[in-house]
Symmetry: C2
Subunit: 371 residues, 2 copies
């Protein structure tokens, strides 16, 4: 007789992360591979983060500060909030987990969009939650429909703003309308992982809505700050929600180099504006090229672009992979005719467009389209 | 109306970690503080780990290898096991969490010792498990009594070998006797965090018992390898147990510098034997001094010593703290007349003994005992 897991575990579809460069090199025997699949910052990590980490290396024999004391001070000061409004996670992924662990029992409901960041659903299913998935409309969150989906059994509503994989956002007006009338004991989890890239004026800063409803706003050092490898994210909420999440947190969940690196990166305004500029210019280039090819895409406020490539599944992601360009196949989202590509450095964007063009030309039996 | 957490969460007593040096300096305004409280390696991190990390720093903008590919190869090779028998955690703390998340529903039973590493009970209570705590006898796990405590509702038995805070171990003979007749669907979680320090010949290597029962053996890079700040632990078990634990694991739970550092440390035989030698000699010194003072202690196979100081609670840990020596108060275990001290470098051991002597002398109204 074998071992039997919790019933909920049998129904979990695991998250499939983007392939690491090393893995692609190993599997395909390629040497020159670029990764435009996981929305990392292609400029590398913040140099101030690296500098701070180097100084600390001799102390990694010691356990981390369990409460992220110094990082907490730094973030609180920067965001003009109280330190006790903060909780830190092993990436913002862990904050999803902590909210579920603190508040969601088996059979409780959570509301998500479809498609959206897959971890909401994966993590919720591990906890045995009933998942109500509300379709997006024209590649945007449909907050009105999501609000209708909220019942008295709804413990958490997950909102990615901007959304991944769509790259779109909900406006101030839409968010305010949504928050009005959401039950007080329903937690609104507002995931702002891509906050730093958004430049639209009607994009709401989640922190402005704290205190209204049971809102938790999460952000990360994995994206614009270039520290995905170190796993640091944080949540901002009211001290009561934070208290319960702290209760279920592992005491040393954020490693010390992550804490140290994040403090360094927070100070690195130059790196942040360089990264934003690169994304701005990269999008402009890619948009223009896609338009010229007659390829449809979803205009994005983030550092990635959702691209529609063929009327039916056509394996474009796999074909790009063979050319050493890793993009995200949208198969896991059930959108096989789409790919999601991270905006890269100029040379990477050019290589992606070149390889994409070749594949499309081949698909047209080598008859080039009119220029 | 406030927010309501899961019922189990209301009953959780959080884990209180040892105080970080920086925190003590801040709180007490001290500058020269030594920490002998969290069983860290006072020699620092493995130099080979640091070397490996330095080379990798430019890549921390990328997500970690979700499956710890290279670290997995390295550990599998070293332990002569198959890569698919391994799972990696954000410290071995997370492996406790993953076992519970995969196998333990609310109301299921877990069996632990008392006292032992507190995280078994803390994490189990978050999951709403019924906890059967079996007293240790003469500072040793009582495996016979623990076996009797196992019922058909017991999902997991936690065994720390060696134990923390006792510093003692169960022998091959005792472990074999215990494993015989444990139900097939009960998981035996054998925590070997301090494995590397044990030199006793009748100490069982948990890996020799894999395949018998549903055993999972966990180890860590936090102790002898000196990487507590990086949070890397691993579990070895049969592929079925591993599969379910993988299903509930966050995709990027182990940060990339942790993975890289651990690979470096694994190769560092010199550092490991230096660390073991330091602990061996440090224990000899501390034992001799304690004997000379007439202070009772539990002989330890690990890098820490449990010391009985007074017939009733006497705040020795707090008084040492004021002198800049952080040791572990045993209050959280309900053993207020004990402290647990990590074996340090020679100078640290001497300072600890000096301060302890002073406190004891003061306690005897400054009448020195006969030398």
């Amino acid at each position: 007789m074998g071992i039997v897991p919790r019933k909920a575990v049998l129904n979990v579809k695991s998250y499939q992360p983007g392939k690491p460069i090393e893995e692609v090199k190993r599997e395909l025997g390629l040497s020159n591979v670029i990764k435009m699949a996981s929305n990392e910052n292609p400029l590398g990590p913040s140099p101030k983060a690296i500098e701070a980490i180097k100084k600390y290396l001799g102390d990694i024999n010691m356990y981390p500060e369990g409460g992220c004391f110094y990082l907490r001070q730094a973030v609180a000061e920067k965001l003009k909030i109280k330190p006790e409004q903060l909780i830190f996670g092993n990436g913002s992924d862990e904050l999803i987990e902590l909210v579920l662990k603190a508040f969601v029992d088996e059979g409780d409901e959570v509301v998500v969009a479809n498609p959206t960041f897959l971890m909401y659903e994966v993590a919720s299913s591990v906890h045995g939650a009933k998942i109500k998935a509300v379709p997006t409309r024209y590649f945007k969150y449909d907050l009105k429909a999501m609000k209708k989906a909220v019942s008295k059994n709804t413990k958490v509503v997950f909102i990615a703003n901007p959304d991944n994989p769509n790259g779109t956002y909900v406006t101030k007006y839409e968010l305010e309308g949504f928050l009005k009338g959401i039950p007080e004991d329903t937690i609104v989890f507002l995931d702002e992982a891509y906050y730093d890239y958004v430049e639209e004026r009607d994009y709401p800063n989640g922190l402005d809505y704290l205190g209204k409803n049971n809102l938790i706003v999460t952000r990360t050092f994995s994206k614009a700050y270039g520290l995905a490898g170190l796993r640091v994210g944080f949540g901002v909420s009211n001290p009561e929600i934070i208290k319960y999440m702290e209760t279920v947190r592992d005491p040393f969940n954020v490693n010390s180099l992550g804490q140290i690196g994040a403090i360094g990166a927070l100070k690195d305004k130059e790196f942040l504006s360089k990264s934003k500029k690169m994304v701005r210019e990269g999008k402009k280039f890619i948009y223009a090229e896609l338009k010229a090819m007659g390829v449809r895409y979803v205009p994005s406020v983030t550092n990635f672009i959702l691209i529609e490539l063929c009327p039916k599944p056509c394996g474009i992601a796999e074909r790009l992979l063979k050319k050493g360009v890793i993009v995200r196949s949208m198969k896991a989202w059930g959108m096989e005719n789409f790919i999601r590509v991270t905006v890269g450095k100029e040379s990477e964007n050019k290589r992606f467009i070149r390889e994409l063009k070749n594949i499309i030309l081949q698909g047209r039996n080598i008859i080039p389209p009119e220029q």
